[in-house]
């Protein structure tokens, strides 16, 4: 099975600023992948490299087994500010899409426009944020791409528009089986829809993998204060200590059987925050985990 996205030591610099630093990833096709990280972590850069709008400074990137080429019919991209042409009507957007894309699915486009209640005669400039996002998604999906890249698609939407957008996106995904990679700085937006996650902090991939495995493999340990032994069979992601107590967030595939620790579950947001805090602490560099299938 080909990978939706594969990178090897991928690096992108803008002048002296490094936006992406030696990222190695392998994301299998057929998943909905969340790309999370704080603002400025390199999420947009990675997506733009993946759709061929940018060229890497060093390293390799492949989407669907090919070098990214801008305008490829196999890859769809919706940029951050849900780009639509303000002066064109909804119907004109669909005609333009049909004209520019040989693989255009007019039935799908018209059905979706009707389903989300857009007036074909309405100018895009007059649409609400949620309606503009739905229009941009419809245009991208009607291309029938095998991989759809979305940069912060719901960041600017109110909660109802956000839910409606994600419902539409998941329906399209179920129908077509396309792979999706979407970025967000809010984990809560991605929790339900993504089965795969890439955590990007400070230009580097902190962890990437299956969401269920990620949830099962991370624990919060609370216990009497102790020095942290490296040989305890787990990776410490984040730690904090008071004079009597130690609290750790660890990654371990084996169950924690030391009874002096109280072991708690973490949700996805806790895990992502722990990686962010760990990376910000400076020691994160040594704990960078390889992207894995």
């Amino acid at each position: 099975m080909t990978s939706a996205l594969r990178t090897e030591q991928l690096t992108k610099r803008y002048g002296r600023r490094t936006a992406l630093d030696r990222c190695t990833l392998d994301v299998p096709a057929g998943h909905v992948v969340g790309l999370v990280g704080p603002n400025g972590a390199g999420k947009s850069t990675l997506l733009q490299l993946a759709c061929g709008l940018l060229d890497p400074t060093a390293g390799r990137i492949e989407t669907l087994g090919e070098r990214p080429a801008s305008g490829s019919p196999r890859v769809g991209f919706v940029a951050q500010d849900t780009p639509v042409y303000g002066g064109l009507t909804v119907a004109e957007h669909l005609r333009l899409g049909a004209h520019l894309n040989p693989s255009w699915d007019a039935t799908l486009a018209e059905r979706r426009i009707a389903q989300v209640g857009l007036d074909p005669a309405q100018r895009a400039g007059k649409l609400s944020g949620g309606q503009r996002a739905q229009l941009a998604l419809t245009v991208a999906a009607a291309k029938r791409p095998e991989l759809l890249l979305l940069d912060e698609p719901v960041a600017a939407l109110d909660p109802l528009a956000r839910r409606t957008f994600l419902q539409g996106l998941m329906e399209l995904t179920a129908e077509s089986g396309m792979s999706v990679i979407m970025s967000s700085h809010l984990v809560a937006d991605l929790e339900r829809v993504c089965d795969h996650m890439i955590v990007l902090v400070g230009s580097r991939v902190q962890i990437a993998g299956d969401v269920d495995e990620m949830l099962a493999g991370h624990h919060r340990l609370v216990g009497p204060r102790r020095p942290v032994g490296e040989g305890s069979g787990w990776d410490v992601i984040e730690e904090s200590h008071t004079d009597v107590q130690s609290t750790l967030v660890v990654r371990s595939t084996a169950p924690i059987d030391d009874p002096s620790w109280q072991v708690n579950r973490l949700d996805l947001e806790d895990i992502v925050l722990a990686y962010m805090a760990g990376a910000a602490g400076g020691a994160g560099r040594e704990r960078v985990l390889e992207g894995q299938r």
């Binding site: 539409g168 339900r192 579950r265």
Partner: protein, 127 residues
């Protein structure tokens, strides 16, 4: 046809919540043999969740022998689960046990902790 819902705060994985809701509907008799489950597309369009989550839940239910997928037609219930009447005697003996624990001086928190730790080691030993 049943309708699924998700509890984001429960700490239970979404696919497991779907499985539990089907089992629950089977126990209550809301779902019977031959009934159709909503399609993957219908579930994701309603809940805004990942299609793979729904497929995973349906696969698991199929593995348990509770449903069968007929390609192009849908997923159908093939088995009903034991009725609630079998719960009653068990509930009564659990109530007796709880009364005994209270008499022995355990408070609610201790009872819950004791139950959970025993339940965990019991189910780990059985799997």
């Amino acid at each position: 046809m049943i309708e699924f819902h998700l509890d984001a705060r429960s700490g239970v994985a979404p696919y497991m919540q779907l499985i539990q809701q089907v089992r629950h509907a089977l126990r209550l008799g809301v779902l019977r043999e031959g009934d159709k489950l909503p399609t993957v597309k219908e579930v994701v369009a309603r809940l805004a969740i990942n299609p793979n989550t729904v497929s995973k839940a349906y696969r698991e239910l199929e593995y348990e022998g509770l449903v069968t997928a007929r390609p192009g037609v849908g997923t159908f219930v093939t088995k009903t689960l034991g009725s609630l009447s079998t719960h009653e005697p068990l509930r009564a003996s659990l109530q007796d046990w709880l009364a005994g624990a209270r008499e022995a001086g355990l408070d609610n928190e201790s009872i819950e902790a004791l139950f959970l730790s025993t339940f965990r080691s019991f189910s780990e030993a059985r799997t």
